[in-house]
Amino acid sequence: MPVDKMPRHGGRDAARVDLLLVAEMVDSGSRVLDVGCGDGQLLRLLASSRGVDARGLEISQKGVNQCVATGLSVIQGDADTDLADYPADAFDYVILSQTLQATRQPKAVLEHMLRIGQRAIVSFPNFGHWRIRSQILLKGRMPVTEALAYSWYDTPNIHFCTIHDFIGLVDLIGARIERAVALDRFGKKMQVSAPWWVWNLFGEQAVFTLRRR
């Protein structure tokens, strides 16, 4: 996703929490591809804190330039078309941070991620959050929140899903959920013991680690 179109979260801290969460799920010294790496914030975090071999794919020239200028190995390209060119098992992790909803074919992208990498880590905003539901239900309008501050006509986010929807897609492509974390609107991790419907209603962000079955 273009850097200037990165989702505007409830402040920088929430975005930061998301990156830290994703980074936590990556083993040190592994090979990582960050799809939609933006200006390379996550890649730099991974390289410095976990010593990973960090590579990126980014659609915006501005983002790629920022990455390369700071010494990251990043390729300018489109997740929807260019993941097909990567060989199978090239990476330990393929990460899609806050980008799934901006892809044209989320299912194909996810399938490619699991082909290219041993594991896929996906973080996305949960469209099933009660604040979003209530906007449609009560106002009868497409939701605009602090975290998703676009109007329907100018949003790069064309494929929103709820946590429930995402789990359905994971089942459909025959992948296994290895880890899942949901964050409430204050960026706090929700109780692991809470049932999915609670996550789906109160989780503002979700991060999943997937494996091939």
Partner: protein, 276 residues
């Protein structure tokens, strides 16, 4: 026989030189200089072809590589443009079958036309519009003659004229031919990925949006092959209307990209930070 006499007598008798030959000569030079590995091999256009050849021929001797506005093979269209240039030279009566030095003449008209045709391919339509449009050269109205009425004509004529003062016609034939024959994958069973298999060289591939001679798709093909081999590769397509020649001009984004790439490579190599 003096060196000059010797060169005169060769004309076109020398074998055709390839990009691989050029790189081999460069490798022999650094051997002679006692240089084991190169920190970075960088180049644009044919220089970019040499960069790719360097990594393919001497993978252990290249720490980082920067092919700019390059391709792993010369396209049919590019061979076609080169052939037009060569035919222009050979059609000049002063070319004398390549033995113009012996005759004490130069095929300057043919070489100038070759350069004019080539120069068009280095620029984008957009930039030509911006710089020249349909503007007239030192006159208020068109003369309806075959004079250089338009600025673009005058500009091209100037490019052709100044080129013949610094370039030899037969050299032009040899150099364009070297590019035509370049097909790196062809040397590796048609697989470009094989040419780069197991490479540890760090790559930064650069293309320009308005370059239609070596378009971005050419650079992407290189990137895909490097990716398939798991190489460390960055790829930047720089937005500019300056066409193929962009790498010779002042494009700030090319400078920041180069700086970032080289600095990271220097860190990986354990070299001190580059000076401002």
């Amino acid at each position: 026989m003096s060196l000059t006499e010797e060169i005169k007598s060769y004309a076109l008798d020398l074998p055709v030189v390839t990009v691989r030959d050029m790189v081999r000569a460069q490798a022999m030079l650094i051997d002679h200089l006692g240089i084991e590995t190169l920190f970075c091999v960088a180049g644009g256009s044919m220089g970019g072809m040499q960069v790719l050849q360097w990594v393919a021929s001497y993978p252990e001797r290249v720490f980082s590589a920067m092919p700019i506005a390059a391709a792993h093979k010369h396209s049919s269209q590019n061979i076609a443009f080169h052939e037009v240039g060569r035919q222009a030279i050979m059609a000049d009566p002063d070319w004398r079958g390549g033995r113009y030095l012996e005759a004490g003449v130069q095929p300057i008209k043919g070489l100038a036309v070759a350069r004019m045709a080539a120069h068009i391919t280095y620029m984008s339509d957009e930039a030509l519009h911006r710089k020249f449009g349909r503007k007239l050269q030192n006159r208020l109205a068109p003369t309806f003659s075959f004079d250089a009425d338009f600025q673009i004509e005058s500009y091209l004529r100037h490019q052709g004229k100044s080129f013949v003062e610094r370039f030899d016609a037969n050299s032009y034939l040899y150099v364009t031919r070297a590019m035509d024959y370049f097909d790196l994958a062809g040397d590796y069973d048609g697989s470009l990925a094989l040419a780069f298999r197991g490479t540890k060289t760090r790559f930064c591939v650069v293309s320009f949006t308005s370059d239609w001679l070596f378009p971005t798709s050419d650079s992407r093909a290189i990137v895909h092959a490097l990716n398939a081999g798991g190489a460390s590769v960055s790829f930047v397509e720089i937005e500019t209307d300056k066409g193929h020649d962009a790498f010779l001009t002042d494009v700030p984004e090319l400078l920041t990209t180069t700086r970032g790439f080289l600095e990271a490579a220097a860190r990986a190599r354990g070299l001190a930070r580059l000076k401002e």
